[in-house]
């Protein structure tokens, strides 16, 4: 069971909750389950969500495993110059 | 659209007078081509005056200097005699645009573009320069301040060309100077500017003065009251403060993208002080 923290504009998609417990082995499964439980996440996932695992931000590596006990944050995907 | 390069001033005047649609005079082109590019002017006729004999020369005469209408500002700076006699006029002309623009732009073009912020004009007005106008009805000589009548407007009639600017021979103990305020160090249009021309006596007392301000009103301002403040005095602190106050008071500026009314008023006075000090030093005052 991973505890996932939702930041910024993302918590609105989970009905205002900013912490969720989700059983997932990697980012792909995490996104799939999020979209199942909270359909509002689907367009956000399509648009792009960044996942911070123990402080390192991943934007596109959906195969990245979620280590047990890892601190996981979901952040909006950013634009850069 | 036609482009012509007449060889005589008479031919140029005739072509301009006879033009059916809008006609434009091309010397340096640094204003004309920008206006054409922006679609502000679509001339039917472009008269390039650079091939006209004498228009590209600076001549030193018994009365002073004659600067042809097609002389690029960079050339003014290369003329040692002119620079020595009228350093304020030359430094003003040398402030227009970049090195690239300097190789093309002219003080007559600067004058005829009739921008209140034109750099060379306050210096020319302070220097009591005159313009030689050639037209269909012959030639006339007028004070430079009589040329611009408002932003983008001049007193020149159809077919008229300014063929030269005249500067007097320099009296001893005289000096002029020009400064402008710009936010950067180069490449800007003056937010406000000041030109001062002084003659002093042996004792260092100012005998005659002309003070002109740029970008402070719809046309360059010749501030008579400022000249009165200086005349008969030395530029001590109190005199300079009064000069600043009078100049600030004489301004009728606008708020625009380059500055505010308050800023222009205040800085016009600051510049007048600084420029008067430089002109005084150049006149030999201590």
């Amino acid at each position: 069971m991973a505890q996932v923290t939702l930041w910024g504009s993302l918590s609105a998609a989970a009905g205002g909750r900013d912490k969720l417990d989700i059983e997932a082995k990697d980012i792909r499964e995490l996104f799939r389950k999020l979209a199942e439980q909270y359909p509002a996440f689907e367009p956000l996932i399509d648009r792009g969500i960044a996942v911070a695992i123990d402080g390192t931000i991943y934007r596109d590596t959906w195969s990245k495993e979620l280590p047990p006990g890892a601190e996981i944050f979901l952040l909006p995907r950013l634009a850069g110059g | 659209m036609r482009y012509i390069r007449p060889l005589s001033i008479e031919d140029a005047v005739g072509q301009l007078a006879g033009a059916v649609g809008p006609a434009a005079i091309l010397a340096g082109g640094s204003d004309l081509l920008v206006r054409m590019k922006g679609g502000f002017i679509e001339p039917e006729l472009i008269v390039d005056i650079k091939a006209i004999a004498g228009l590209s020369d600076i001549t030193e005469t018994a009365d002073g200097f004659r600067i042809g209408a097609a002389v690029p500002c960079a050339v003014l700076g290369e003329n040692a005699a002119l620079k020595k006699a009228w350093p304020g006029v030359v430094e003003a002309a040398k402030l227009i645009g970049s090195k690239q623009v300097q190789g093309r732009c002219t003080i007559v073009g600067n004058l005829c573009n009739a921008s209140p912020a034109a750099d060379s004009v306050p210096a020319l007005v302070a220097a009591a320069a005159k313009a030689v106008v050639a037209g269909p009805s012959g030639k006339r000589t007028i004070a430079v301040e009589a040329v611009p009548t408002g932003p983008g407007r001049t007193s020149l009639a159809k077919g008229e060309i300014i063929e030269a600017i005249l500067l007097d021979k320099r009296a001893p103990h005289a000096g002029d100077a020009y400064q402008r305020f710009i936010p950067r160090t180069e490449m800007d249009i003056a937010v406000v500017s000041a030109g001062v021309n002084l003659t002093i006596d042996e004792a260092g007392v100012i005998k005659a003065a002309r003070v002109a301000l740029g970008a402070a009103a719809p046309t360059v301002l010749l501030v008579e009251e400022a000249a009165e403040v200086l005349t008969g005095r030395k530029p001590d602190e109190a005199t300079l403060e009064r000069l600043a106050k009078v100049c600030s008071g004489a301004c009728r500026p606008i708020d625009d993208k380059r500055g505010t009314i308050e800023f222009r008023r205040k800085v016009a006075g600051v510049l007048a002080k600084r420029v008067a000090t430089t002109a005084y030093q150049r006149a030999g005052g201590k």
């Binding site: 930041w7 850069g80 | 936010p183």
Partner: protein, 754 residues
């Protein structure tokens, strides 16, 4: 990922040297081809008609007269770009921004376009297009736009992120919040509190090369696009989607790019050029004028920010709070959100809260500009931090060191930091001789810190070894400032050959797999990762070939310093085989030798910088002059240190321009007053001193060489560093950027009058 991406702490041979860039000679001889330097046979000239109104309904467009003009080959309006975005609102906004559909939303918004045989005919044709507008009230100011009485820009937008669902549409498209702890309690514990409001004006990236492209659409559904862009693969996706083309049938070639800084990360005129070409049946070249660049492309947000920070007497910050309002132009964005994330990223805070509001206004669609949104937030926060240090009586550097984030700190935007460079940059600044240099009258010194995330992303690289042992490296990230040199160094490093034997090119979209654009300081970070991976794949092949040549097991072949080396007692007498020797035999040992890599370069390390700046102020005119400037920034590992310095210096210069003079000035009519380099005042050569740099290298553990992105962070601190310097020079706290002479003089006069 098919290789180990972790930092290896190795010693380098090529990486860290400073060779001449591979594209250099072309660029100093005028041969390099930029967006406008390319032509096709039968090419037409495209031009765009733009709205003179800030906000207007487009009632009717009559193009008949223009179509009849001799030499006009196509005239298009939004009707020629039907909506194929299928509910993708971000793409719909890009489409509407390319060509207004129902309303013109800002001065300069495209409403129609022509393709004609030459520029003069095209210009004339634009004048013949008749547009009937119903002019609407407009709003350009961020605070005005938030008022209930403000003209509504899009009645389908309701504020997202509110606790209660709004019942009325609003110009505020989103509210976001970041932070942790309890700021109320934190402020209650504070001995001193500084609270201030700040404003920053809108700026433009100011790249010297205007947007330019040549589009050619064929009747068979294939198309070519030559364009200056930061991401040709992204442009291909956008254009294919908007035009209804098959992605693989649209080949996009990125020209040399004359600056982007975020401003060339999504399409503007390119779909219009393609639509014109499709309609005219001929290639179309479309080059924006400088005026169009300012009116319709770029810019960054204008902002209004409130900051409140509290600290104890000993200098510990107890709470920090900010409310950030950012303009997005007329389309939804996430610019305030990025500001809210970055605002306090430099500090170790128990209690922090930031709230961002995305605000729609009648200005051009906001685009990314080098560490987008971070400089404005840093200006507000770092100004307040300086003021708080002063009130407490602490040195501003010491105050920041005391509160700096470190490994293990929870960032104000959520995650916990790994090894980071904020502390080391501050220590370096503290010990820098610049901090001890004497100052004259009316001069002041300021310093400030800055943060940027840095990105990675999708990346694809091909490395091909020629029969003579030379290496061609095809990358898909556009080279915006020397990355071909740094990537050649990386290939040389990994293979163990000389830099001179590597030639890097940016491949077009038909020659390489998809790459994200060069943004978020990712070019060298991501493509070096892919290059290392590709090189290691090539080395695997090289070892196999050497094993064949020696007729020994491949496991007995190692790769050392550009050579295959036989290992073990049985092969000890075999002379090493060089890459060149193996390549020469490649035709007989299995064909061409290559290494490929497709990966997602994740794990970009965050980046911090601290800047020092000396400013002289003329108290009579408000004029400022930058006397001395120093940049200290963490690069992780500087691959080509000269170009790293260049990034530091360039970002600082852009920040200086933003701080002092650059701004969009709108008239009461909502029209842009200064769409040109004359009155949009970017720094000229004589405005700046030399910009000293100090590169720190705190390795990024997620990159095999420790590389972090370096491009963006350098624009973050200057606004605040200069504001702090002005404050120290003449004793006025400047709260409005740019600190143009009229603003400084007004502040000084207000201070004198008390």
């Amino acid at each position: 990922m098919n290789f180990d991406p972790r930092f290896s702490g190795r010693n380098f041979t090529s990486v860290g040297t400073r060779p001449i860039r591979p594209d250099g000679v072309d660029k100093v001889t005028g041969r390099a081809r930029y967006g406008a330097d390319f032509n096709m046979a039968g090419q037409l000239v495209g031009r765009i008609l733009r709205s003179p109104h800030a906000h207007a309904v487009i009632r009717k467009i009559d193009t008949s007269k223009a179509e009849k003009l001799a030499g006009v080959k196509a005239v298009i309006t939004a009707a020629d770009l039907p909506d194929l975005t299928d509910g993708d609102t971000a793409m719909y906004d890009i489409l509407d921004n390319s060509m207004a559909r129902k309303k013109a939303l800002y001065d300069g918004h495209a409403v129609a376009a022509v393709a004609a045989i030459d520029a003069r005919t095209a210009r004339q044709a634009l004048k013949l297009i008749e547009v009937e507008y119903e002019v609407l009230p407009h709003v350009t100011d961020v605070d005005e736009a938030m008022k209930h009485s403000a003209p509504l820009i899009n009645d389908a937008i309701f504020t997202e992120g509110l606790e209660e669902k709004p019942v009325k549409p609003s110009n505020v498209c989103k509210r976001t919040q970041y932070g942790h702890g309890d700021v109320h309690q934190g402020f209650a514990e504070a001995d001193m509190i500084v609270e201030r409001s700040f404003k920053t004006e809108q700026t433009h990236q100011g790249y010297i090369e205007p947007h330019a492209c040549v589009a050619s659409v064929n009747a068979d559904g294939t198309a070519d696009l030559w364009v200056c862009t930061q991401g040709h693969f992204v442009y291909r996706q956008h254009c294919a989607q908007l035009l209804g083309l098959e992605v693989s049938k649209l080949r996009v070639t990125s020209s040399e790019i004359g600056g982007g800084f975020g401003g060339k990360t999504h399409v503007w005129a390119e779909p219009v050029a393609l639509a014109l070409s499709r309609k005219a049946g001929r290639p179309v070249k479309l080059v924006m004028t400088r005026e169009e660049v300012f009116r319709a492309s770029g810019p960054t947000s204008a902002t209004s920010i409130d900051v409140k920070i509290g600290a104890k007497k000993d200098g510990t910050i107890t709470a920090a709070e900010a409310t950030l309002r950012y303009t997005c132009g007329p389309y939804a964005g996430m610019w305030a959100e990025i500001g809210a994330m970055t605002a306090f990223a430099c500090y170790r805070l128990e209690n922090v809260k930031t709230v961002g509001y995305e605000v729609l206004v009648n200005r051009p669609k906001t685009a990314a500009y080098r560490a987008p949104s971070a400089p404005m937030a840093a200006f507000a926060v770092e100004s307040a931090v300086d003021e708080l240090a002063k009130e407490i009586g602490m040195d501003p550097v010491e105050f920041r060191i005391k509160n700096a984030a470190q490994e293990g700190t929870r960032a104000s935007y959520g995650p916990v930091y790994g090894p980071i460079g904020i502390g080391p940059t501050l220590e370096a600044v503290k010990n820098h001789p610049h901090m001890k240099a004497p100052l004259k009258a009316n001069q002041g010194r300021g310093m400030a810190c800055g943060f940027w995330f840095n990105f990675g992303g999708q990346t694809c690289t091909d490395l091909n070894i020629g029969m003579d042992g030379s290496v061609s490296l095809a990358v898909g990230t556009v080279d915006v400032g020397g990355s071909r040199a740094s990537l050649s160094l990386v290939a040389a490093e990994e293979l163990g050959i000389a830099y001179e034997h590597v030639k890097a090119v940016v491949a077009d979209t038909s020659s390489l797999g998809y790459n994200d654009m060069t943004d978020g300081s990712r070019g060298t970070f991501s493509s070096s990762m892919a290059t290392i991976s590709a090189a290691r794949n090539a080395i695997k092949v090289l070892r196999e070939r050497a094993a064949q040549m020696w007729d020994i097991p491949v496991d007995d072949v190692a790769w050392e310093k550009g050579h295959a080396v036989a290992k073990g007692a049985t092969h000890g007498n075999l002379a090493p085989l060089s890459l060149k020797e193996i390549a020469a035999q490649s035709g007989k040992t299995g064909g061409p030798i290559a290494g490929h890599s497709e990966l997602v370069a994740d794990g970009a390390g965050v980046s911090f910088a601290t800047h020092i700046c000396d400013i002289e102020v003329d108290p009579e005119t408000g004029a400022t002059r930058v006397i001395r400037y120093t940049v200290v920034q963490d690069a992780g590992k500087a691959v080509h240190p000269t170009y790293v310095e260049g990034q530091y210096q360039g970002g600082a210069a852009q920040g200086i321009g933003w701080a002092l003079n650059e701004e969009y000035i709108y008239g009461k009519d909502g029209r842009l007053q200064n769409p040109g380099f004359l009155d949009y005042r970017i720094p000229v050569c004589s405005d700046l001193p030399m910009i000293d740099t100090q590169i720190l290298e705190i390795p990024n553990p997620n990159h095999p060489y420790g590389v972090r992105g370096v491009g963006e962070t350098s624009i973050v601190p200057p606004l605040a560093a200069i504001a702090n310097a002005v404050s120290n020079a003449v004793g006025v706290r400047m709260t409005h950027i740019p600190m143009s002479p009229p603003r400084i003089l007004a502040a000084l006069e207000a201070e004198r009058e008390g």
